[in-house]
Symmetry: C2
Subunit: 186 residues, 2 copies
């Protein structure tokens, strides 16, 4: 581990909400100069790659107001402080696609936007998922799209999955997905 | 293209800066109810995957204050309004790694955080890159890390490239990188 060279002199919130805060820090650099950094302050969120018993990856197609567009995504979400991320993953899987999984495995983590915010994604792979009722109200603005695994991987690799963190979560899970199905065939 | 079902009733900035704004919209849903959305409003940024003439992918290792950690990234940046994104890609390549490329190809685009912001990444692949002087001051907090292509792809697939958009940009470029080197060998 390398050193962490900047020193935080002061910190205040410019804006706070349930989902994220805007935080402004006064920072001293190693050469003594000072800078102001404004950061999107956000708890770690989980992204869950749901693989069904019959070899499909369950995508969610939904209208997202923030981008005014339809997005292909996987289940994801943020929890209350202190929640275990694996528990949060199981809950989001249940709420967003009505899924229950035989296994939920931690895969990887990554920073969502290292230049401007501290948000981190923790990726879980949910295996042998059975689909049931979803907790959110079914509107015409959200649809489940189970896709054969190879097709979903191609969609992620080609840019068709337009929500970045979802596409990356799928590609980070590829090795483990293949390993799982290889073992099942033995 | 599906319909875009939400109607924006009003819009105001809670905070504005050179890099991003926080915008709050009052929105009417199709069922007539109203919601407030608070959005991180950010121009499209470019991410550039630099491949050198000798088959290396040039990573940048840098300390990022927002996450208080060292990140593996590729060159990226946002430009002034109206700039052509391919020109911005060439400029960022030059400024961040001192690179000039024989070809700069558009690869894909993705939303950075479709739930809370409108930021979009546009990915370019820079081929036959020659490295030279960088424009930023060389401090001990930023280092160029040229890595053989296959190793860089493995690093992206395994989560070692901890800056999410950089990892995804590399994986989205994989097919085109392989195609380029296959053609060169013919």
């Amino acid at each position: 581990m390398r050193e962490r060279p900047y020193q935080t002199l002061s910190s205040r919130y410019l804006w706070q909400s349930q989902w994220y805060n805007v935080r402004q820090d006064q920072v001293r650099l190693p050469n003594g100069s000072e800078l102001t950094y404004t950061i999107i302050d956000k708890p770690t969120a989980v992204w869950i790659v749901p693989i069904t018993t019959d070899g499909h990856l369950v995508l969610i197609e939904q209208y997202r107001y923030a981008v005014d567009d339809w997005c292909l995504e996987i289940p994801a979400g943020t929890g209350e402080p202190g929640i275990e991320l694996a528990d949060l993953a199981a809950r989001e899987l249940r709420e967003e696609i009505g899924g229950s999984a035989e296994h939920i495995l931690p895969i990887a983590e990554f920073y969502l936007m290292s230049g401007i915010g501290n948000g981190k994604a923790k990726v879980f792979l949910a295996l042998n998922v059975m689909l049931g009722e979803t907790a959110h109200e079914q509107t015409e603005y959200i649809h489940l799209r189970p896709v054969p695994i190879e097709e979903a991987l191609d969609m992620a690799r080609s840019g068709m999955i337009n929500a970045g963190p979802s596409a990356l979560a799928i590609l980070l899970s590829e090795t483990k997905i293949r390993e799982f199905f290889r073992e099942q065939q033995l």
